[in-house]
Protein backbone atom coordinates (compact mmCIF):
# COMPACT_ATOMS: atom_id res chain seq x y z
CA UNK A 1 0.00 0.00 0.00
CA UNK A 2 1.36 3.40 -0.93
CA UNK A 3 1.91 6.02 1.72
CA UNK A 4 2.11 9.75 1.13
CA UNK A 5 5.62 11.01 1.68
CA UNK A 6 6.99 14.52 1.95
CA UNK A 7 10.72 14.63 1.32
CA UNK A 8 12.95 17.67 1.67
CA UNK A 9 15.69 17.34 -0.89
CA UNK A 10 18.20 20.09 -1.65
CA UNK A 11 15.97 22.58 0.15
CA UNK A 12 12.88 21.73 -1.94
CA UNK A 13 9.84 19.84 -0.71
CA UNK A 14 8.75 16.93 -2.87
CA UNK A 15 5.47 15.13 -2.32
CA UNK A 16 5.05 11.63 -3.61
CA UNK A 17 3.36 8.36 -2.76
CA UNK A 18 5.63 5.38 -2.16
CA UNK A 19 5.39 1.79 -1.06
CA UNK A 20 7.15 1.08 2.26
CA UNK A 21 9.74 -1.19 0.67
CA UNK A 22 11.13 1.56 -1.57
CA UNK A 23 14.58 2.72 -0.53
CA UNK A 24 15.63 6.35 -0.55
CA UNK A 25 17.92 5.91 -3.56
CA UNK A 26 15.09 4.34 -5.56
CA UNK A 27 12.70 7.17 -4.75
CA UNK A 28 15.29 9.88 -5.44
CA UNK A 29 16.07 8.38 -8.83
CA UNK A 30 12.76 6.98 -9.97
CA UNK A 31 10.14 9.25 -8.39
CA UNK A 32 11.98 12.56 -8.10
CA UNK A 33 14.15 12.14 -11.20
CA UNK A 34 17.32 12.93 -9.28
CA UNK A 35 19.53 10.42 -11.06
CA UNK A 36 22.78 11.98 -9.89
CA UNK A 37 22.69 9.57 -6.95
CA UNK A 38 23.83 6.18 -8.23
CA UNK A 39 22.82 2.77 -7.05
CA UNK A 40 25.67 0.29 -6.92
CA UNK A 41 25.89 -2.77 -4.69
CA UNK A 42 22.61 -2.10 -2.86
CA UNK A 43 23.98 -3.44 0.43
CA UNK A 44 26.09 -0.62 1.82
CA UNK A 45 29.50 -1.75 0.63
CA UNK A 46 30.31 0.59 -2.27
CA UNK A 47 29.04 4.00 -1.16
CA UNK A 48 28.03 5.30 -4.58
CA UNK A 49 24.49 5.94 -3.29
CA UNK A 50 25.83 8.31 -0.60
CA UNK A 51 23.57 11.25 0.21
CA UNK A 52 23.68 13.62 3.15
CA UNK A 53 20.90 13.16 5.69
CA UNK A 54 20.90 16.09 8.11
CA UNK A 55 24.45 16.76 6.94
CA UNK A 56 25.76 13.23 7.61
CA UNK A 57 26.77 10.98 4.72
CA UNK A 58 24.82 7.72 4.61
CA UNK A 59 24.13 4.85 2.20
CA UNK A 60 20.76 5.74 0.69
CA UNK A 61 20.34 2.14 -0.51
CA UNK A 62 19.95 1.09 3.15
CA UNK A 63 17.46 3.78 4.14
CA UNK A 64 13.76 3.29 3.54
CA UNK A 65 12.38 6.39 1.82
CA UNK A 66 9.74 6.64 4.56
CA UNK A 67 12.53 6.85 7.16
CA UNK A 68 13.85 10.01 5.50
CA UNK A 69 10.66 11.98 6.16
CA UNK A 70 11.34 15.19 8.06
CA UNK A 71 15.06 15.06 7.42
CA UNK A 72 17.19 17.38 5.28
CA UNK A 73 18.50 15.43 2.32
CA UNK A 74 21.30 16.70 0.12
CA UNK A 75 22.10 14.98 -3.17
CA UNK A 76 24.76 15.83 -5.73
CA UNK A 77 22.19 17.96 -7.59
CA UNK A 78 22.07 20.30 -4.59
CA UNK A 79 25.71 21.33 -4.73
CA UNK A 80 26.23 23.45 -7.84
CA UNK A 81 24.70 26.89 -8.11
CA UNK A 82 23.20 26.96 -11.58
CA UNK A 83 26.10 26.39 -13.95
CA UNK A 84 28.68 27.18 -11.27
CA UNK A 85 30.21 24.04 -9.84
CA UNK A 86 30.64 23.62 -6.11
CA UNK A 87 34.33 23.99 -5.18
CA UNK A 88 34.59 20.24 -4.46
CA UNK A 89 33.14 19.44 -7.89
CA UNK A 90 35.52 21.95 -9.50
CA UNK A 91 38.48 20.43 -7.68
CA UNK A 92 37.53 16.91 -8.85
CA UNK A 93 37.54 18.17 -12.46
CA UNK A 94 40.71 20.18 -11.97
CA UNK A 95 42.68 17.34 -10.34
CA UNK A 96 41.51 14.59 -12.69
CA UNK A 97 39.74 12.79 -9.84
CA UNK A 98 36.98 11.50 -12.13
CA UNK A 99 37.37 8.64 -14.56
CA UNK A 100 34.21 6.64 -15.16
CA UNK A 101 32.37 8.91 -12.74
CA UNK A 102 30.14 6.34 -11.10
CA UNK A 103 31.58 6.83 -7.61
CA UNK A 104 31.92 10.61 -7.99
CA UNK A 105 28.57 11.83 -6.57
CA UNK A 106 29.06 9.72 -3.45
CA UNK A 107 32.70 10.70 -3.10
CA UNK A 108 31.86 14.39 -3.38
CA UNK A 109 29.08 14.21 -0.78
CA UNK A 110 31.22 12.23 1.67
CA UNK A 111 33.96 14.82 1.09
CA UNK A 112 31.51 17.67 1.66
CA UNK A 113 30.48 16.25 5.04
CA UNK A 114 34.16 16.04 6.01
CA UNK A 115 35.04 19.54 4.80
CA UNK A 116 31.97 21.07 6.46
CA UNK A 117 33.43 19.85 9.77
CA UNK A 118 37.10 20.13 8.96
CA UNK A 119 38.11 22.29 6.00
CA UNK A 120 41.78 21.50 6.46
CA UNK A 121 41.99 17.70 6.74
CA UNK A 122 45.18 15.66 6.56
CA UNK A 123 45.52 13.04 3.86
CA UNK A 124 44.80 10.35 6.48
CA UNK A 125 41.63 12.13 7.58
CA UNK A 126 40.45 12.33 3.97
CA UNK A 127 41.16 8.64 3.39
CA UNK A 128 39.34 7.71 6.60
CA UNK A 129 36.31 9.85 5.72
CA UNK A 130 36.08 8.32 2.24
CA UNK A 131 36.68 4.76 3.42
CA UNK A 132 33.06 3.78 2.73
CA UNK A 133 33.23 4.97 -0.89
CA UNK A 134 34.85 2.63 -3.39
CA UNK A 135 36.47 3.77 -6.63
CA UNK A 136 37.68 1.14 -9.09
CA UNK A 137 39.32 3.58 -11.57
CA UNK A 138 41.46 6.24 -10.00
CA UNK A 139 43.49 4.52 -7.29
CA UNK A 140 42.13 7.25 -4.97
CA UNK A 141 45.20 9.52 -4.95
CA UNK A 142 43.69 12.15 -7.23
CA UNK A 143 40.44 12.05 -5.27
CA UNK A 144 42.34 12.67 -2.05
CA UNK A 145 44.29 15.49 -3.72
CA UNK A 146 41.04 17.04 -4.96
CA UNK A 147 39.41 16.96 -1.52
CA UNK A 148 42.42 18.60 0.12
CA UNK A 149 42.54 21.26 -2.61
CA UNK A 150 38.80 21.88 -2.29
CA UNK A 151 39.16 22.29 1.47
CA UNK A 152 41.77 25.01 0.97
CA UNK A 153 39.55 26.66 -1.60
CA UNK A 154 36.52 26.58 0.71
CA UNK A 155 38.49 27.84 3.71
CA UNK A 156 39.78 30.73 1.56
CA UNK A 157 36.29 31.65 0.42
CA UNK A 158 35.03 31.57 3.99
CA UNK A 159 36.92 34.83 4.67
CA UNK A 160 35.15 36.72 1.91
CA UNK A 161 31.85 38.53 2.38
Amino acid sequence: MKTLLKLKVNGRIFETAVEPQRTLVEVLREELGLTGTKQGCGVGDCGTCTVLIDGEPMNSCLVLALEAEGREITTIEGLSQGQKLHPIQAAFVEKGAIQCGFCTPGMILAAKALLDRNPNPTETEVREALAGNLCRCTGYQKIVDAVIAAGRDLAGEGGEP
Binding site: T23, G42, L62, A110
Partner: protein, 319 residues
Amino acid sequence: MRILHPFRYERPKSLDEALAILEKHGAKAAPLAGGTDLIVNMKHRSMLQLVPGAGTAQAQWKSAARVPAMERPEVVVSLSSLAELRGIRKGDGKLRVGPLVAMAELSRSRDLLPEAGALSDAAGIMGSPLVRNRATVGGNLMNARPAADTAIAILALGARLELASRAQRRWEDASAFFTGPGRTVRKPEELLVAVEMPIGPCEGSAYVRMGVRRQLEIAIVSAAAWIRLSRDRSTIADARIALGAVGPTPILAPHAAGMLAGKAGGPERFAEAARTARGEARPIDDFRGSAAYRLDLVEALVTRALEKALARARGEGAP
Protein backbone atom coordinates in the same frame (compact mmCIF):
# COMPACT_ATOMS: atom_id res chain seq x y z
CA MET B 1 19.26 -4.72 -8.63
CA ARG B 2 18.25 -5.98 -5.23
CA ILE B 3 14.80 -4.84 -4.27
CA LEU B 4 12.91 -5.36 -1.06
CA HIS B 5 9.82 -7.52 -0.65
CA PRO B 6 6.55 -5.74 0.18
CA PHE B 7 5.85 -5.29 3.89
CA ARG B 8 3.77 -3.14 6.20
CA TYR B 9 5.56 -0.19 7.74
CA GLU B 10 4.72 1.08 11.20
CA ARG B 11 6.32 4.04 12.90
CA PRO B 12 5.05 4.07 16.49
CA LYS B 13 5.19 7.40 18.33
CA SER B 14 5.86 5.89 21.74
CA LEU B 15 7.51 2.87 23.29
CA ASP B 16 4.12 1.59 24.51
CA GLU B 17 2.77 1.75 20.99
CA ALA B 18 5.86 -0.02 19.65
CA LEU B 19 5.53 -2.82 22.21
CA ALA B 20 1.85 -3.23 21.39
CA ILE B 21 2.73 -3.69 17.70
CA LEU B 22 5.42 -6.23 18.57
CA GLU B 23 3.01 -8.10 20.82
CA LYS B 24 0.41 -8.21 18.08
CA HIS B 25 2.70 -9.41 15.28
CA GLY B 26 5.34 -11.36 17.21
CA ALA B 27 7.98 -12.99 15.03
CA LYS B 28 6.34 -11.59 11.88
CA ALA B 29 7.54 -8.13 12.90
CA ALA B 30 11.09 -6.82 12.69
CA PRO B 31 12.19 -3.75 14.65
CA LEU B 32 14.06 -1.31 12.39
CA ALA B 33 16.80 0.86 13.92
CA GLY B 34 19.56 1.99 11.53
CA GLY B 35 18.71 -0.74 9.05
CA THR B 36 22.29 -1.36 7.95
CA ASP B 37 21.89 -5.04 8.85
CA LEU B 38 18.13 -5.52 8.56
CA ILE B 39 17.80 -4.00 5.09
CA VAL B 40 20.82 -5.97 3.87
CA ASN B 41 19.38 -9.20 5.28
CA MET B 42 16.03 -8.40 3.69
CA LYS B 43 17.76 -7.98 0.33
CA HIS B 44 19.63 -11.27 0.61
CA ARG B 45 18.31 -14.09 -1.46
CA SER B 46 17.94 -17.48 0.13
CA MET B 47 21.65 -18.21 0.17
CA LEU B 48 21.55 -20.30 3.33
CA GLN B 49 20.04 -23.12 1.31
CA LEU B 50 23.14 -23.15 -0.88
CA VAL B 51 25.46 -23.95 2.00
CA PRO B 52 26.00 -27.70 2.07
CA GLY B 53 26.25 -29.96 5.08
CA ALA B 54 23.28 -28.76 7.09
CA GLY B 55 22.43 -30.89 10.10
CA THR B 56 25.30 -31.00 12.55
CA ALA B 57 25.67 -28.14 15.00
CA GLN B 58 29.08 -27.35 13.55
CA ALA B 59 27.73 -27.15 10.01
CA GLN B 60 24.81 -25.00 11.10
CA TRP B 61 27.08 -22.62 12.87
CA LYS B 62 29.39 -22.51 9.84
CA SER B 63 26.58 -21.70 7.47
CA ALA B 64 25.05 -19.18 9.82
CA ALA B 65 28.43 -17.55 10.38
CA ARG B 66 28.88 -17.19 6.64
CA VAL B 67 25.57 -15.97 5.46
CA PRO B 68 23.29 -13.75 7.49
CA ALA B 69 19.85 -15.22 7.81
CA MET B 70 17.49 -14.06 5.13
CA GLU B 71 14.76 -11.96 6.66
CA ARG B 72 11.30 -11.39 5.27
CA PRO B 73 9.28 -9.64 7.98
CA GLU B 74 5.63 -8.90 7.28
CA VAL B 75 5.75 -5.79 9.41
CA VAL B 76 8.72 -3.46 9.76
CA VAL B 77 8.51 -1.45 12.96
CA SER B 78 10.49 1.77 12.65
CA LEU B 79 11.97 2.86 15.97
CA SER B 80 12.97 6.25 14.60
CA SER B 81 10.39 8.25 16.59
CA LEU B 82 11.29 6.71 19.96
CA ALA B 83 13.34 9.44 21.61
CA GLU B 84 13.51 7.42 24.84
CA LEU B 85 15.80 4.93 23.11
CA ARG B 86 18.43 7.59 22.33
CA GLY B 87 21.16 9.24 24.32
CA ILE B 88 24.16 8.39 26.47
CA ARG B 89 24.04 9.01 30.21
CA LYS B 90 26.86 8.71 32.69
CA GLY B 91 26.39 8.90 36.46
CA ASP B 92 25.84 6.94 39.67
CA GLY B 93 28.58 4.51 38.70
CA LYS B 94 26.82 3.60 35.47
CA LEU B 95 27.05 4.29 31.80
CA ARG B 96 23.69 3.94 30.11
CA VAL B 97 23.53 3.82 26.33
CA GLY B 98 20.28 4.02 24.41
CA PRO B 99 20.03 1.32 21.74
CA LEU B 100 19.36 3.91 19.03
CA VAL B 101 22.68 5.70 19.57
CA ALA B 102 24.51 5.65 16.23
CA MET B 103 27.99 4.15 16.07
CA ALA B 104 29.46 7.50 14.98
CA GLU B 105 27.96 9.26 18.01
CA LEU B 106 29.12 6.50 20.31
CA SER B 107 32.68 6.56 18.97
CA ARG B 108 32.91 10.33 19.42
CA SER B 109 31.39 10.43 22.91
CA ARG B 110 33.81 11.53 25.60
CA ASP B 111 31.58 9.89 28.22
CA LEU B 112 32.94 6.48 27.30
CA LEU B 113 36.59 7.07 28.11
CA PRO B 114 38.52 5.62 29.78
CA GLU B 115 36.28 3.01 31.45
CA ALA B 116 34.22 2.07 28.41
CA GLY B 117 36.98 2.73 25.87
CA ALA B 118 36.37 -0.76 24.47
CA LEU B 119 32.89 0.29 23.34
CA SER B 120 34.26 3.49 21.86
CA ASP B 121 36.91 1.51 19.94
CA ALA B 122 34.33 -0.98 18.65
CA ALA B 123 31.85 1.69 17.56
CA GLY B 124 34.64 3.54 15.75
CA ILE B 125 35.73 0.66 13.53
CA MET B 126 32.47 -1.15 12.82
CA GLY B 127 31.42 -0.95 9.16
CA SER B 128 32.45 2.16 7.24
CA PRO B 129 32.05 5.88 8.05
CA LEU B 130 28.80 5.87 6.06
CA VAL B 131 27.49 2.83 7.90
CA ARG B 132 28.54 4.24 11.29
CA ASN B 133 26.41 7.33 10.71
CA ARG B 134 23.37 5.11 10.38
CA ALA B 135 24.05 1.87 12.28
CA THR B 136 23.01 1.77 15.92
CA VAL B 137 24.54 -0.02 18.87
CA GLY B 138 21.24 -1.75 19.58
CA GLY B 139 21.09 -3.03 16.03
CA ASN B 140 24.64 -4.35 16.17
CA LEU B 141 23.87 -6.15 19.44
CA MET B 142 20.54 -7.61 18.34
CA ASN B 143 22.02 -8.81 15.07
CA ALA B 144 24.17 -10.95 17.38
CA ARG B 145 26.87 -12.03 14.98
CA PRO B 146 29.76 -13.86 16.67
CA ALA B 147 31.98 -11.03 15.40
CA ALA B 148 29.67 -8.09 16.26
CA ASP B 149 32.16 -5.44 17.36
CA THR B 150 30.10 -3.77 20.08
CA ALA B 151 28.90 -7.12 21.46
CA ILE B 152 32.48 -8.15 22.25
CA ALA B 153 33.04 -4.77 23.91
CA ILE B 154 29.97 -4.82 26.14
CA LEU B 155 30.71 -8.37 27.19
CA ALA B 156 34.11 -7.27 28.52
CA LEU B 157 32.41 -4.29 30.16
CA GLY B 158 30.09 -6.50 32.18
CA ALA B 159 27.04 -4.87 30.64
CA ARG B 160 23.45 -5.79 31.22
CA LEU B 161 20.70 -5.27 28.72
CA GLU B 162 17.13 -4.27 29.39
CA LEU B 163 14.38 -5.92 27.38
CA ALA B 164 10.85 -4.55 27.49
CA SER B 165 7.57 -6.08 26.45
CA ARG B 166 4.02 -4.99 27.17
CA ALA B 167 3.92 -7.42 30.08
CA GLN B 168 7.28 -6.78 31.74
CA ARG B 169 10.76 -5.35 31.76
CA ARG B 170 13.73 -7.55 32.51
CA TRP B 171 17.49 -7.24 32.73
CA GLU B 172 19.77 -9.82 31.22
CA ASP B 173 23.55 -10.04 31.66
CA ALA B 174 25.50 -9.68 28.44
CA SER B 175 27.19 -12.99 29.28
CA ALA B 176 23.83 -14.78 28.98
CA PHE B 177 22.35 -12.63 26.20
CA PHE B 178 23.78 -14.22 23.05
CA THR B 179 22.58 -17.76 22.42
CA GLY B 180 23.87 -18.53 18.92
CA PRO B 181 24.81 -16.89 15.63
CA GLY B 182 22.15 -14.23 15.09
CA ARG B 183 20.27 -15.34 18.20
CA THR B 184 19.67 -13.75 21.59
CA VAL B 185 17.32 -14.28 24.52
CA ARG B 186 14.99 -11.59 23.14
CA LYS B 187 11.45 -12.86 22.63
CA PRO B 188 9.59 -11.66 19.53
CA GLU B 189 7.39 -9.33 21.58
CA GLU B 190 10.38 -7.73 23.31
CA LEU B 191 12.51 -4.74 22.44
CA LEU B 192 15.98 -3.83 23.65
CA VAL B 193 15.52 -0.54 25.51
CA ALA B 194 18.83 0.05 27.32
CA VAL B 195 22.41 -1.10 27.64
CA GLU B 196 23.98 -0.38 31.00
CA MET B 197 27.56 -0.82 32.15
CA PRO B 198 28.99 -0.39 35.63
CA ILE B 199 31.87 2.10 35.62
CA GLY B 200 34.22 3.23 38.34
CA PRO B 201 37.59 4.73 39.15
CA CYS B 202 40.88 3.09 38.14
CA GLU B 203 39.21 1.33 35.20
CA GLY B 204 40.18 1.11 31.56
CA SER B 205 39.12 -1.01 28.62
CA ALA B 206 39.98 -1.53 24.97
CA TYR B 207 38.84 -3.42 21.88
CA VAL B 208 41.13 -4.58 19.09
CA ARG B 209 40.30 -6.40 15.88
CA MET B 210 42.18 -8.20 13.15
CA GLY B 211 40.84 -8.19 9.63
CA VAL B 212 42.34 -8.04 6.17
CA ARG B 213 41.18 -4.43 5.77
CA ARG B 214 40.64 -1.64 8.25
CA GLN B 215 37.17 -0.59 7.07
CA LEU B 216 34.06 -2.46 5.95
CA GLU B 217 35.51 -5.50 7.64
CA ILE B 218 34.26 -8.35 9.75
CA ALA B 219 36.74 -9.57 12.33
CA ILE B 220 38.83 -12.67 11.73
CA VAL B 221 39.27 -12.45 15.48
CA SER B 222 38.65 -9.62 17.91
CA ALA B 223 39.32 -9.15 21.59
CA ALA B 224 38.21 -6.76 24.31
CA ALA B 225 39.75 -6.33 27.73
CA TRP B 226 38.59 -4.47 30.82
CA ILE B 227 40.81 -3.86 33.82
CA ARG B 228 40.15 -2.35 37.24
CA LEU B 229 43.26 -1.44 39.17
CA SER B 230 43.67 -1.41 42.92
CA ARG B 231 43.31 2.02 44.55
CA ASP B 232 47.05 2.62 44.48
CA ARG B 233 47.02 1.42 40.87
CA SER B 234 49.83 -1.07 41.56
CA THR B 235 47.91 -4.28 40.88
CA ILE B 236 44.95 -5.48 38.88
CA ALA B 237 41.90 -5.81 41.14
CA ASP B 238 39.62 -7.30 38.52
CA ALA B 239 39.62 -8.01 34.80
CA ARG B 240 37.43 -9.30 31.99
CA ILE B 241 38.41 -10.58 28.56
CA ALA B 242 35.97 -11.14 25.70
CA LEU B 243 36.60 -12.70 22.29
CA GLY B 244 34.90 -12.32 18.93
CA ALA B 245 34.63 -14.71 15.96
CA VAL B 246 36.04 -17.69 17.87
CA GLY B 247 32.76 -19.31 18.89
CA PRO B 248 29.09 -19.39 17.91
CA THR B 249 28.54 -16.24 20.00
CA PRO B 250 30.75 -13.52 21.43
CA ILE B 251 32.41 -15.27 24.40
CA LEU B 252 34.15 -14.45 27.65
CA ALA B 253 37.52 -15.91 28.61
CA PRO B 254 36.95 -16.11 32.39
CA HIS B 255 40.00 -18.24 33.22
CA ALA B 256 42.39 -15.88 31.45
CA ALA B 257 40.80 -12.88 33.16
CA GLY B 258 40.75 -14.62 36.55
CA MET B 259 44.53 -15.15 36.45
CA LEU B 260 45.10 -11.41 36.47
CA ALA B 261 43.27 -10.58 39.72
CA GLY B 262 45.64 -9.47 42.44
CA LYS B 263 48.63 -9.40 40.09
CA ALA B 264 50.60 -6.55 38.63
CA GLY B 265 49.98 -6.04 34.91
CA GLY B 266 52.90 -6.51 32.58
CA PRO B 267 54.15 -8.27 29.44
CA GLU B 268 54.79 -11.67 31.04
CA ARG B 269 51.56 -11.72 32.99
CA PHE B 270 49.59 -10.64 29.91
CA ALA B 271 51.30 -13.25 27.72
CA GLU B 272 50.33 -15.91 30.23
CA ALA B 273 46.70 -14.72 30.28
CA ALA B 274 46.67 -14.60 26.48
CA ARG B 275 47.85 -18.22 26.31
CA THR B 276 45.03 -19.19 28.65
CA ALA B 277 42.52 -17.25 26.52
CA ARG B 278 43.74 -19.26 23.54
CA GLY B 279 42.57 -22.38 25.35
CA GLU B 280 39.15 -20.85 25.94
CA ALA B 281 38.54 -20.00 22.27
CA ARG B 282 36.61 -22.44 20.06
CA PRO B 283 37.32 -21.24 16.53
CA ILE B 284 36.43 -22.93 13.27
CA ASP B 285 38.03 -22.86 9.82
CA ASP B 286 36.20 -20.61 7.40
CA PHE B 287 36.96 -18.31 4.48
CA ARG B 288 38.14 -15.53 6.82
CA GLY B 289 40.79 -17.63 8.48
CA SER B 290 41.73 -21.09 9.72
CA ALA B 291 41.09 -22.17 13.28
CA ALA B 292 44.84 -22.44 13.86
CA TYR B 293 45.45 -18.88 12.66
CA ARG B 294 42.57 -17.67 14.81
CA LEU B 295 44.14 -19.25 17.90
CA ASP B 296 47.40 -17.42 17.21
CA LEU B 297 45.40 -14.22 16.76
CA VAL B 298 43.63 -14.72 20.08
CA GLU B 299 46.99 -14.65 21.84
CA ALA B 300 48.23 -11.59 20.00
CA LEU B 301 45.00 -9.62 20.31
CA VAL B 302 44.34 -10.42 23.97
CA THR B 303 47.83 -9.16 24.79
CA ARG B 304 47.24 -5.95 22.84
CA ALA B 305 43.80 -5.38 24.34
CA LEU B 306 45.16 -5.89 27.87
CA GLU B 307 48.06 -3.49 27.27
CA LYS B 308 45.74 -0.82 25.94
CA ALA B 309 43.20 -1.32 28.72
CA LEU B 310 45.94 -1.10 31.34
CA ALA B 311 47.29 2.12 29.83
CA ARG B 312 43.79 3.61 29.93
CA ALA B 313 43.22 2.46 33.52
CA ARG B 314 46.46 4.17 34.47
CA GLY B 315 45.39 7.30 32.62
CA GLU B 316 48.39 7.03 30.33
CA GLY B 317 49.00 8.06 26.78
CA ALA B 318 46.57 8.68 23.98
CA PRO B 319 42.95 7.67 24.53
